[in-house]
Symmetry: C2
Subunit: 285 residues, 2 copies
């Protein structure tokens, strides 16, 4: 079967498990992790929160550092953590192996430029292939929400905004809100998508949100984040949301930085936010 | 000043900070981490839980993976995480750089054998030098409890049992309970202390507990722990405690393994256990 279990540990009464699978969209073996809460079973399927991590991360950073399992177990939510880029010997990387482009830095786009376009199809992987696989093999419903951190916050926002029918709610920690106008975004988008900047707009949350959003959005941002002014720019997202009547709550958190210490401090709020919207749909069924 | 801050992050309303200092007992620079809860101040000093990590770990494993901050913040307890051995270019290591002896594997003993005895004085470092430093420089009381995982569980039990006047309570996850009779223990104790096995007894919790203990002890052990039978042997500790009237609760936890996923599942119970005993003393004051 195209799904191989590579680890499992009981945690908070549920299970943390890692899998590998041969992913068609990105043309390589991909690894992901899933947390299944104690109440998940074939007769009691649970909704899923998809988590997208930031630059340099893989499927484990959130699972090991976010401290999310107790609350997710209590709320009855599964969590799926994807990798942040395609991986493997055949997958091209930044020529200098930089941390902010290439391996570990897929930016959750569908690349159009060679050599990146053969593997860097992370938007399709996250929005289509991974959920289809998870829903086929685990005791989960089709109810999904999406969240992430930094580059993964950008991924959660852009994938959620472009596919609002697929998700119930969107949240982000310290997201890259306007990648067409920051150094991390410009480097990645020009390489993956080419130099025609109009092609970048569909991967910029502050642009996408101008078309409106029927989903609620929660964003937490640390005020002591070293990347706040140069890379993240949440005020631009908030302004665009307010101008277009989108239900977006931006919480500026004094003293917090860009680390998982910040995420672990507020992840319970995000889980409760998503649970409220996932539950509302389930109750209708 | 002999105390250099090397990182700080706000977390759960408090602060996680890392420091380096020139440690006399172990003759090298040592690194440790401290969590200060939101209510800690010079006018409101808080008690401290000392955490000792296991083989291969340093001061960060618990801080990043245990998910302990929310409960510690709520209870008003500081947490100090030490390193697991002396470090640095001049510190000898296992001749094959093995994971279970030498660097990252100090076993919390005071070594008597060359070349180990120059630096591997971890029992004194944990029980004397580190608390004195912490109490001199941070808003903490002298009230202390001690806990740890695996080799660090062995450290917490043996240091706590030998210095009952210094602590209010002892706990451990998956501790090495009878190191004089398991492969990890025999390798380390023979190297650090020599081949006279009577010299090992003061570093074996199942032996030390025969002299009694006035402190309460909580031990959690996963039943799916791969090291349970060969290395850990908690039943021997429980038997010795029961035969000698020691207040030790051993909880066998079905399905859990040796990882931090296990620790994160039950750390709140340990924090509440220690808080109860630390608070009781504070209330008397």
């Amino acid at each position: 079967m195209n799904l191989q279990n590579i680890s499992q540990s009981k945690v908070a009464g549920g299970w943390h498990k890692q899998y590998q699978h041969d992913a068609k969209s990105v043309n390589c073996m991909m690894q992901f992790a899933i947390f299944l809460p104690p109440n998940a079973s074939e007769t009691n399927k649970v909704p899923v929160l998809y988590w997208l991590s930031g630059l340099t991360c893989d499927d484990q950073n959130f699972m090991q550092k976010a401290g999310a399992f107790k609350k997710a177990a209590e709320l009855g939510i599964a969590i799926v953590c994807a990798d942040t880029s395609p991986r493997g010997d055949g997958v091209p990387d930044d020529e200098n192996a930089a941390y902010d482009f290439g391996l570990g830095a897929g930016f959750y786009v569908n690349a159009t430029q060679a050599p990146w376009n053969k593997h860097y199809q992370m938007a399709d992987y996250i929005n289509q292939e991974l959920p289809a696989l998870v829903e086929a093999h685990f005791p989960v419903t089709e109810q999904k929400s999406i969240s992430g951190h930094s580059m993964g916050g950008h991924g959660a926002l852009t994938i959620g905004l472009k596919n609002q029918q697929n998700y119930q709610s969107i949240s982000a920690f310290s997201p890259i809100c306007n990648p067409i106008d920051c150094p991390w975004g410009k480097k990645s988008l020009s390489n993956y998508l080419g130099n025609n900047q109009s092609d970048w707009l569909e991967y910029d949350a502050s642009q996408l949100i101008k078309a409106g959003c029927i989903l609620p959005i929660l964003v937490d941002q640390g005020e002591a984040d070293q990347f706040l002014e140069t890379q993240l720019k949440p005020q631009r997202l908030l302004n665009a949301a307010e101008e277009n009547g989108v239900d977006l709550l931006l919480r500026m958190q004094p003293g917090y930085d860009h680390s998982y210490f910040f995420i672990s401090s507020f992840i319970d709020d995000h889980l409760a936010f998503h649970a409220k919207h996932l539950k509302a749909i389930n109750d209708i069924k």
